[in-house]
Amino acid sequence: MTAEAIRDSHFAAMVLFALLVSVALACLGRQTLTGRIKFALWSFALFLVIGVGVAWLMYPFSR
């Protein structure tokens, strides 16, 4: 993921934000490495699903 891709694509920015914040939350919320990896993946997936879901809900009002 290049700097240009992050600058040009809002989705790429959201994915990067979700990934990095998920890593931080996993480090805070779980004590074991396995628990952290599971938590980070789950948090990352939720960030994406909820983000795209909210975007779809807002879509009719964007025009």
Partner: protein, 136 residues
């Protein structure tokens, strides 16, 4: 874990200077506090998360707030940004900060930099708690 290591760790936990130094180290370089406490994976995680957010913010031409703006939101933004430690001060010293808020990406970048600072604030609190023996 040997008895000697346990004794050293317990005496360190009772030393308030040690815990404050750990918190300062964690603030200056994200993850450094955990590194000193030998919490390797958390050290790497916080360094990647806080550093990655701040660097991505600069790459998106986000704005890092300066101190003494006189505006409450600017002050709040500075406090959030400054918690990135080296990731706030070094880019300013190296003058690689080129904010451009004429595009949405620049605005997002500003939030990324602030988020990096907030993540590192949480890391500092976590390192402090770990040094005091309140967390694992």
């Amino acid at each position: 874990m040997t008895t000697e290591t346990l004794v050293t760790e317990n005496s360190s936990r009772n030393n308030p200077v040690f815990t404050v130094l750990i918190a300062i180290a964690a603030w200056i370089v994200p993850g450094l506090g955990h590194l000193f406490l030998r919490r390797w994976s958390r050290a790497v995680g916080f360094f990647v998360a806080a550093g990655g957010l701040a660097l991505a913010g600069y790459a998106m031409h986000g704005q890092a707030f300066k101190p003494g703006s006189g505006d409450p939101f600017g002050t709040l933004g500075f406090v959030a940004d400054a918690f990135s430690g080296a990731f706030y001060f070094l880019p300013r010293v190296l003058t690689i900060v080129r904010p451009d808020l004429s595009h949405a990406a620049g605005d997002y970048g500003t939030r990324f930099i602030a988020a990096g600072g907030i993540v590192n604030l949480l890391a500092v609190i976590d390192a402090y708690g770990t040094a005091r023996g309140e967390r694992g």
